[in-house]
Symmetry: C2
Subunit: 260 residues, 2 copies
């Protein structure tokens, strides 16, 4: 029996906790793996803030569990105990709510304005931070190589803080997309022109490479402009910036120089 | 009996694995906690790259364990098995080497050039990324409020990728330091002047605030200039940038505008 709070006839202090079924636990914990996300077309988001932003953006809610009411946007959650939440949460320290959403259908890539492209960015935390940066800088289109981390990985979803709802992410064979692209293509490399002295366009594609190896040679062939963030240390031992911080600086430069 | 590789009389293929003593395991695993680091004056670093950079920077090596030789800078490690390394490692996927270093004596704060100050940055990953950024942009002095994450936390050490060796980190009562500071003080806030149109100095102090609450009121009283990174999204739902990516953008702006 599922009883929800805030229903007519129920006083607000009456809480009826439900038990999550074994099949639900199996479904939810399985969604940590990409193959089960692909198979089911579902992904997990945790915490009232992220869940509310996804609902607000029009994503399709499939399941919602919480230890307390989570805010005005969401429908009444199915109330569970903290102990039950721990069984299904991917977080070390579970929040108060966990939702399962339907993965939206992939839209075609919109080649207009500024686009960001990722070549094999593998770390989910980096991808999540980069999606949050896209949202901040008004980048609506993120194009990822097929070997980039999956944007519906729960770690990515948490790191985006809800920004995933406002950035379109596509996975494709990156070199083929760049080969047919019309906009000028900029790539972040270690030995390019300093970005501070470059004339940057208001429309273009910025390519960021893998954490360890940078942009692959297959993708690098398509770059029209190779740009670099100059270092200022005496010591040249610092090998490189983290891909997320480098993306932050470069997107800031594109937005600053082209006016707003 | 401890037998090291590459010693005269030993052929290179002769490897003698030692057993780590229980007291060493207890010491090393204890160093995950700040109170044991403070008590012993020791901290842990993992992976040949980070260990070599710390040795190169002149830090005092106390213990060195590895599953194989780790490079030219380091002395011969005590060889242990991967299974033993797992017992002492803080990483989910242990690297090939773990070292214990002595925490260097805290030097007095050098108020010259650009300084970065952190007001209660709590996440070790953020602190590590910020130390790496300081190194890249030639910031030699990082001043932290006492409630900022400890820079000898193993997660910080790993995230710095060795940069901790080239950035001086001090912990202090931040508002007292700022009260007596001579250089102009800039603070990152949500409602300040856009950083892109500000005349930035080549010498100054940039203050970054806590992940959730920004700069505290006690510290904010000392700001001479309140600066903001403007967002470019239509949707104002993006609350803020992550503190590490915001630091990246602001340090880039200071370095860009003042020439190098």
């Amino acid at each position: 029996v599922r009883v929800l709070i805030n229903r007519p006839g129920l006083l607000s202090f009456q809480k009826y906790y439900i038990l999550i079924s074994k099949s639900q636990i199996k479904l939810i914990t399985g969604l940590q793996q990409k193959k089960y996300r692909d198979k089911s077309g579902l992904f997990v988001a945790e915490g009232p803030k992220v869940i509310n932003e996804l609902i607000n953006a029009g994503l399709n809610l499939y399941l919602l569990f919480a230890t307390e009411a989570i805010g005005s946007l969401a429908p009444d959650p199915e109330l569970i105990t903290h102990k039950e939440l721990q069984k299904i949460s991917f977080l070390k320290t579970p929040n108060t709510a966990l939702a399962v959403f339907k993965i939206p259908k992939e839209q075609s890539i919109q080649e207009s304005g500024m686009l960001l492209a990722l070549d094999a960015v593998r770390d989910p935390g980096n991808l999540g931070t980069i999606i949050r940066l896209c949202d901040w800088f008004g980048i609506k289109q993120l194009v990822c190589s097929n070997d980039t981390a999956d944007c519906y990985n729960p770690k990515v979803i948490q790191a985006t803080m809800g920004s995933i709802a406002r950035v379109q992410v596509n996975y494709t064979v990156l070199e083929e997309f760049l080969d047919s692209a019309v906009l000028p293509i900029y790539g972040a490399v270690m030995d390019g022109d300093t970005v501070y002295s470059k004339q940057l366009p208001s429309e273009g594609i910025l390519v960021m490479g893998n954490e360890a190896n940078g942009i692959s040679s297959k993708v690098a062939r398509h770059l029209d402009h190779r740009i670099t963030i100059p270092g200022f240390g005496d010591n040249q031992a610092t090998e490189s910036l983290n891909v997320a911080t480098a993306t932050a600086i470069l997107l800031s430069e594109f937005r600053r120089t082209t006016g707003m």
